[in-house]
């Protein structure tokens, strides 16, 4: 099998820097600190007069959440400079005169960044596996978490590649990627909140507070592309105490089709992968030096 040359080169370059080894150490040190703090608060009988074993699941919840948040901050830093960095170093032009297609360059760069993220996640498995010493979370739960992390990395990474192709400077591309991440995670949530608010206003002001509440659950589909919500929903499901989806459906006065609700995790993964594909295609489009630039397409004088 032919390995993407950009991927092979990037792995070689990244593995030679001390920066990445340092990142792994810091990343795991934070997770270990949080895990130990959690264990200390749950099991130290000098602090508590009883041991609440169910609280162990909470440690998993916290570690998983912290891991996702850290990745959310790190992935843009890994990916946003990929193309912009090549441009700044003046190596991109040469790459574009080879037979490599823009898609291959983007995929090679993205996969090398994802490999680094995977390495981080794998290196953190022993920390996350602490939870297995006391039970409460199954191996399949952990696998679902790892898969979601991987898809999340691809998704945010593809945003980084897109930003890196569109914006010329690394710093600007990184800010742009964080902006895209915020749009996906927060703006979608705000849309749901506003829809709920508007439906309530409509119910009281137009329908005079009578009749059935307007069903606006359809807006929840937008959360399929929100990795933060899907992570929270997955962790809530694994934790078993609440259902984030039920809470939202109740608030929006309706119900999504059972298939979507029951398979939200997989549907969201499919939606995120679809978005990833679109971002990669867009990044490749903007990387192509021969693309038609609408603003410059003028008639011959």
């Amino acid at each position: 099998m032919k390995i993407n040359p950009v991927y092979a080169k990037e792995l070689k370059l990244r593995s030679r820097t001390s920066k990445f080894a340092f990142t792994i150490i810091i990343y795991n040190a934070i997770l270990i600190f949080i895990a130990l703090l959690g264990f200390e608060s749950v099991f130290n009988v000098n602090w508590n007069s009883y041991i609440d074993y169910s609280a162990a699941s909470r440690i998993y919840f916290i570690i998983a959440s912290i891991e996702m948040v850290m990745l959310a901050f790190m992935i843009p830093a890994f990916t946003a400079g990929s193309i912009a960095g090549e441009r700044e170093k003046q190596t991109l032009e040469i790459l574009l005169t080879t037979t490599l297609k823009p898609e291959q360059i983007i995929v090679g760069k993205l996969m090398s960044s994802i490999s680094m993220v995977l390495l981080l996640v794998v290196s953190s498995l022993p920390v996350i596996s602490i939870i297995f010493t006391i039970g409460g979370v199954s191996a399949s739960d952990l696998l679902r978490f790892i898969l979601l992390t991987f898809v999340f990395a691809l998704y945010v990474g593809s945003m980084g590649m897109f930003a890196s192709s569109v914006v010329k400077k690394t710093v600007q591309a990184t800010v742009f990627t964080y902006g895209l991440g915020m749009i996906v995670c927060f703006v979608t949530a705000i849309v749901v909140f506003l829809t709920n608010l508007i439906s309530n206003i409509y119910y009281y002001n137009v329908m005079s507070g009578t009749g059935p509440w307007p069903d606006v659950t359809g807006v929840l589909y937008i959360l399929l592309i929100n990795p933060a919500f899907t992570t929270i929903n997955m962790i809530f499901d694994q934790y078993g105490a609440y259902s984030a989806m039920d809470m939202l459906q109740n608030g929006l006065n309706g119900k999504l089709p059972n298939f979507i609700v029951e398979h939200w995790y997989w549907c969201s993964i499919a939606a995120q992968l679809l978005c990833t594909f679109c971002f990669v295609k867009l990044a490749a489009h903007f990387l192509n030096p021969l693309r038609v630039k609408k603003s410059k397409k003028r008639g011959k004088k």
Binding site: K12, I94, T97, T99, K300
Partner: protein, 310 residues
């Protein structure tokens, strides 16, 4: 090898290439000369598939360069005027990376890359990190890199810019070597004399149009008739000036001590007749020579006053 017809490119209102026509034969070492902003780099970037043309046709061999970008890239090796290198890669790894892009890997890639580094006199630097090499070495490494897929055409944008005289000399030697090996090479520069020493053909571009093309000798001979005639007179200078003023082929006169410089548009017979007329009028002429001019003067003349060639 290369056929460019009516190539047109504009950036907003600025016309970078104005229906450029150019033909370069196989095995030529073609020097592309022009002042800054003349359209050299734009042409080279279009030839390299880095820029979309707004009109015209470009054929490299049988390949329509404006239509079939992938086929074009197999045919060309490109070296930009400014380029960077990857930190943390050794010179041989840098070469092998580009070889892998063209599907050349493993021992075959190592052998090929070592041969190419030998060709550019860098075989002893194979294990050095690229960013530790001097500018001249990086230029040669980049040249070796552009040869990794054995392209028919090399496009080199100002390959000697920023190099010291020794590095320039080495670069010239390598390029001549490659040309002897049958490679067609296009080199751009804004310094005519730099190209004149090694190029088989030279094209001069200005304001997006090709002003002239040919060997250095051809271009010089086309221009020589427009050079001034320098006449040294030691007696009857006023009489001589009077004769020159009456002569319709004399366009302008400038006097510097014993020397009179004439803008003279006539042929050699006319020059001989003018000299005879001076002698008939008892003017003591010491010398009567049409100035040959140097390459830079020629370049300045061409780019400043292109009608002299038409």
């Amino acid at each position: 090898m290369i056929e460019i017809k009516k190539l047109y490119k504009h950036y907003g209102d600025f016309v970078a290439l104005n229906n450029l026509d150019l033909s370069i034969g196989k095995g030529e070492l073609f020097g592309f000369v022009g002042p800054n902003g003349a359209g050299k780099t734009t042409t080279m970037r279009i030839l390299s598939g880095l820029l979309k043309a707004d009109g015209g046709e470009v054929y490299i061999g049988e390949v329509n360069a404006l239509e079939d970008n992938q086929a074009l890239k197999k045919k060309i090796g490109y070296m930009p005027d400014f380029f960077g290198v990857y930190d943390n890669l050794k010179a041989i790894e840098y070469m092998e990376f580009y070889a892998s892009i063209y599907g050349i890997t493993g021992k075959k890639a190592r052998k090929l890359c070592m041969e190419l580094m030998e060709l550019v006199n860098l075989s002893d630097k194979a294990e050095f990190y690229v960013d530790s090499l001097s500018r001249g070495m990086k230029q040669r490494l980049c040249l070796a890199r552009s040869l990794v897929h054995n392209p028919d055409l090399l496009i080199l944008d100002e390959p000697a810019s920023g190099l010291d005289p020794r590095a320039r000399f080495e670069m010239k030697g390598i390029l001549k070597n490659l040309n002897d090996m049958g490679k067609t090479i296009i080199i751009s520069s804004h310094i005519l004399s730099e190209l004149a020493e090694m190029c088989t053909t030279i094209g001069i571009i200005e304001k997006g149009s090709m002003i002239t093309k040919g060997t250095v000798d051809e271009i010089m001979s086309r221009l020589v008739s427009s050079n001034p005639i320098k006449v040294q007179i030691i007696e009857n200078k006023e009489e001589a000036v009077k004769i020159f003023k009456e002569e319709p082929l004399v366009k302008n006169i400038s006097i510097d001590g014993d020397y009179i410089s004439l803008g003279f548009t006539g042929e050699q017979d006319d020059e001989a007749e003018l000299l005879a007329k001076l002698i008939r009028n008892n003017i003591k002429v010491v010398s009567f020579v049409r100035e040959s001019g140097n390459l830079e003067e020629v370049f300045m003349m061409i780019t400043g006053n292109k009608e002299v060639l038409n």
